[in-house]
Each structure stands twice: as C-alpha cells, then as structure tokens.
C-alpha cells in the first residue's frame, strides 16, 4: 500500500514515510512501514503491545538507524541526527512522561523551550500553556513529580508544545489515566490542532485513539495492516474483531 494513495485532509504533507525498516541489532522490528501525516491532522497509530509503534517513533526521532524513506516537511529525515530532527520540529512526548520530577512545573515547561532563544515568545507560550491547561497554571510552582498522573501527562504535553513542534508525537498518552482525564486531554489535542499543530497519537487503546483522531493506522508485528478514516476503522469488521473484541 502506498502512502501517497492515502486520502488525507486538505493540509500539506508534514511527514511522509515510505517503506521504513528499523530494528535492534540483528533483530528487525519494522518491516516496510508507510504512512503520511498532513498539516493540522490528528493521526492515530494503534496496535497492541510489541507491534513496533515505539520503534517507529524512535526511528522517526532518529534515535535508532533505519532503512527506507522518510521526509519531514519536504526534508529528508533519514540522514538527520536526533538533535537535528528535534530542531526541525519533530517533538516527542515520551511514554511514561519522563518529567523532571524534582523540578517545578514551570521549569519543566521551560526545559521544553531549552533550544529556543526568543525570550518574549517563550514567556508568551508559557501563559498560553497555562491557558490550555489551567491545572498547570495553578500548580506552576509545584514539583512535577508530586502531581497526579493526569496532571503529569498535561505537564509532559505542555513541555512538548513549548518546543513549538511542527509534529507532536505522543506515546501512550492515556496509559494509566482515568477516562475523564483522557477526555480532557483529547479536547486539548483538538484545540492545538486548531492552532495548526499536527499530532501523531501512538496508543495501545485502539478505540480511544481512533475516536479522537481524524485518521488511523493499525500496526501489527512491524507492518501497517489497516489504515484509513478513523471512524471507518472503528466500524471496520476486521478491526473490530481483532482489536476491539466486538
């Protein structure tokens, strides 16, 4: 299946991946993954544990070597270092949040802007984050590690947004969180999409991810096995049978 054949929304392509392979040592994990993400889309990448989702993120962040083609905003991604990929606007919110636990919420957010020099704009973005996540505003002087799981996830997402991403890749956003919190986070994703940020949502919780996304890709043992409009995927009998237990 060619990525170009995928029908996306109106925006320009942000990330185009074609036949991407990657693995650890002799062990191949990704076997020719192709996908495309367009500007201001929310795309879900779903699949069960061990399907290769995190490996794909690591390959895109250039932390591990890969084969095949990947371009980001028209630029060849494969020869870039992790630093350069980050500098180009490919920002990850890692699984398990990876906050700076013994630093304040505000310091965590400022670390997201570590590579930015535009002080005034950073201060503006900080206020924007507190508007987007009022809970973080209330707790800006609190140590990040002392907050609830949902608040920590908000902090991790806000930290990612402080880097002014072109594409925000969120790994396992909902893991371990109460449904009501996940719903709030989904609303935030819809808001930031409205501001032009593109989101790749990587989730084990297939129903949840697809219900909040525009389009989805279903991954299984290192390959994309289903793709298309998110609502259509939820209704797809094969997906329902294999993943939703319906």
């Amino acid at each position: 299946m060619s990525a170009a054949a995928e029908k996306g929304t109106a925006g320009e392509p942000v990330l185009v991946v074609d036949g991407l392979g990657a693995g650890y040592g002799e062990m191949p994990v990704l076997k020719g993954v192709s996908l495309e993400i367009r500007r201001a889309e929310i795309v879900a990448l779903v699949g069960s544990n061990g399907a290769g989702k995190t490996t794909l993120l690591r390959a895109l962040s250039r932390v591990i070597a890969c084969t095949g083609k990947a371009s980001f905003l028209g630029r060849d991604l494969v020869p870039l270092t992790p630093d350069e990929a980050f500098g180009a606007g490919l920002v990850q919110v890692p699984e398990g949040r990876q906050l700076f636990d013994r630093m304040t919420v505000e310091d965590n957010l400022l670390m997201g802007a570590y590579r930015r020099a535009d002080k005034a704009a950073i201060a503006g973005d900080l206020e924007r984050m507190y508007g987007l996540f009022p809970r973080l505003g209330e707790r800006r002087r609190q140590l990040a590690g002392s907050m609830s799981g949902g608040e920590q996830q908000m902090c991790a997402m806000a930290r990612g947004l402080m880097a002014r991403p072109q594409l925000l890749m969120i790994d396992e956003m909902s893991l371990g969180l109460a449904p009501v919190v996940v719903e709030q986070l989904m609303e935030v994703l819809a808001t930031i999409r409205g501001e032009g940020v593109t989101v790749l949502l990587v989730e084990q919780d297939i129903h949840l991810a697809l219900s909040g996304a525009d389009r989805g890709y279903v991954m299984e043992t290192g390959s994309i096995v289903h793709s298309g409009d998110a609502k259509a995927l939820i209704d797809d009998p094969a997906v329902r049978k294999a993943y939703l237990g319906l």
Binding site: D83, Q98, Y114, R115, R159
Partner: protein, 287 residues
C-alpha cells in the same frame, strides 16, 4: 564564655570556606555521578595560581579570584570534554580510579613545578583584625567567608533561575528527557565540571589567604569536601553551606575542648552519624 564566642566565630568563618570547597564536588557528584577524588588537588592548584598572581604580578588574592576561577573553569571544561566524558555513564568504580589517578598526577606535577615548600598568600591586611568587644575577627578570614557565602548563594540562584542551571538540574534528574528536548550532554557535562573546578579554584585562592598551601593538601581537602557534601546533601547548594558551617563549628569546638588532633575524628564522626540518621543530608528530602 568569651572563648566560646571566639571559637564559634572561628568555626563559622572556617565553615564558609569549607562550604565553597565542597560546592564544586557536590555539583559534579550530583550531576555527573562522579565522586571527584582529584577535587582537593584542583583546590590546591587554584591556591598556587592565586599565589603566583599575587607574588609575581601583585594581584590582590581577592581581586585575582575571578582570574583563578576562569582559568580553572577552562581546565575543567577541557578535562571533562577530553577525558572524563569517557566515564560519565561508567560504573562508579571507574570514575574513582580515573579521578584518583588524576589526583596523583596533579599532586606530583605540582611538587615538580612549585617544590614542596609551604606557600602563604600574605596581603597587607593579612595580620589585621576587627575587635568586636572581646571577640577578634581576622579581616582576611572574614573576607574569605563573605566571598564563600556569596559564591554559594550565587550558585544556588544560578541553578534555580538560569537557563544553563535549569538544564544542569534537568540532566541530573532525567538524562533521557533532557536529550529529547535538545540538551547536548557532552557540552553540558563539560560546563558542569568546568564550573565545579572553577569553584574549586576559587576555594583554593581563599584557602591560600587563610592557611598554607603545599602540593599535598589535596587529599585531606577532598575528604573534607566529601564529608560536607554528604552532611549537606547533594540536592541543594544551601545544604552544602549548612554542612560546611556544621563541620567548621564542630571542628573548632573539638580542637578546643578535646584536643588539636581530634578535629578530623569529630568531622568524620559527624559524617557517620549523618549517614545513619539522615542519609540524604541535613537539608535533603527524606523519603
């Protein structure tokens, strides 16, 4: 009573100097997880540098401190970038071996270059003191104390509020996340080590104004700095200040009431007690 007050004053003044000695060691330990056994040797080098600046160029030891600190910072940056970055993620034992080696090399190079004679930095005000009622406060020690406290508080503010300080804390807490957001660890580690060695250099300059320098003072000063860092905790430069003051006062009291040879017994005794009762340091957070 007057004697006790005098001893307490002496202890506090000594403690400020101890704090700035331990500051660099605690920083490097906390961020790089390297217990730098050569830390005292860098203090010794800073002392010689200040002594040369004063003796041959006539630069006042306090005015010369920034020069000493900057030169030592550069030495620390280069050493970390060139040598110690090889062992940052290595097991603690490797870091101990390599920094111990560094301490031996620095000590004997200093002996070759500067001879084994005692050196003292003696500016015109070295002998003068201020009388506060019955208590006498030596001017040089008071100035050294002031600079030491200023450096410690400055370090605390730097770590809390500057962009680099924030990145140093972030890297110490979560290397993976720090890298993810564009921190370049090799540069950051070298900056951290450079700052640690710069502080050691400044401490050496201060030490030279209140005590004697010879090539062999390093090992003792490393041990003291280590004890202070443990007593104060690695989290917070103000902990090191508390640790330094505690150690300075206890040592001074012990020397007076127990005997001059028992000073170190008392300081390491306190270290053991702290390890037993407050393993994360006096100001450290307990779990």
């Amino acid at each position: 009573m007057d004697l006790l007050a005098q001893i307490l004053i002496n202890g506090v003044l000594l403690g400020g100097l101890y704090a700035v000695m331990a500051l660099g060691l605690a920083l490097v330990w906390g961020v790089l997880n390297i217990v730098n056994l050569a830390h005292g040797a860098f203090i010794m080098l800073g002392g010689y540098l200040s002594w040369h600046l004063y003796t041959y160029l006539g630069i006042d030891p306090f005015l010369g401190l920034p020069i000493t600190a900057v030169v030592m910072f550069c030495l620390g940056y280069v050493l970390q970038r060139g040598v110690l970055n090889l062992i940052v993620r290595a097991p603690m034992f490797n870091t101990l071996l390599i920094t111990f080696g560094l301490e031996v090399v620095l000590t004997y190079l200093a002996q070759l270059a500067f001879s084994a004679d005692f050196r003292t930095i003696n500016p015109s005000y070295a002998g003068s003191s201020i009388a506060l009622g019955p208590v006498v406060v030596p001017v040089a020690r008071l100035m050294a104390f002031g600079v030491a406290v200023a450096l410690t508080v400055g370090m605390w503010l730097f770590l809390l509020h500057s962009r680099l300080g924030r990145a140093i804390r972030a890297t110490a807490q979560n290397l993976v996340a720090a890298r993810l957001y564009g921190v370049e660890p090799r540069h950051l580690y070298a900056m951290t080590f450079g700052i640690g060695i710069g502080l050691a250099g400044a401490a050496g300059g201060l030490y030279g104004t209140v005590s004697q320098i010879d090539p062999y003072i390093g090992a003792t000063l490393t041990a003291k700095s280590f004890a202070i860092a443990i007593i104060g905790g690695l989290d917070n430069p103000l902990g090191v200040l508390v640790g330094g003051l505690v150690l300075g006062i206890i040592e001074s009291l012990t020397v007076l009431y127990v005997g001059a040879t028992f000073g170190d017994v008392a300081s390491f005794g306190v270290l053991v007690l702290v390890l037993i009762f407050r393993p994360s340091g006096l100001l450290g957070k307990t779990a």
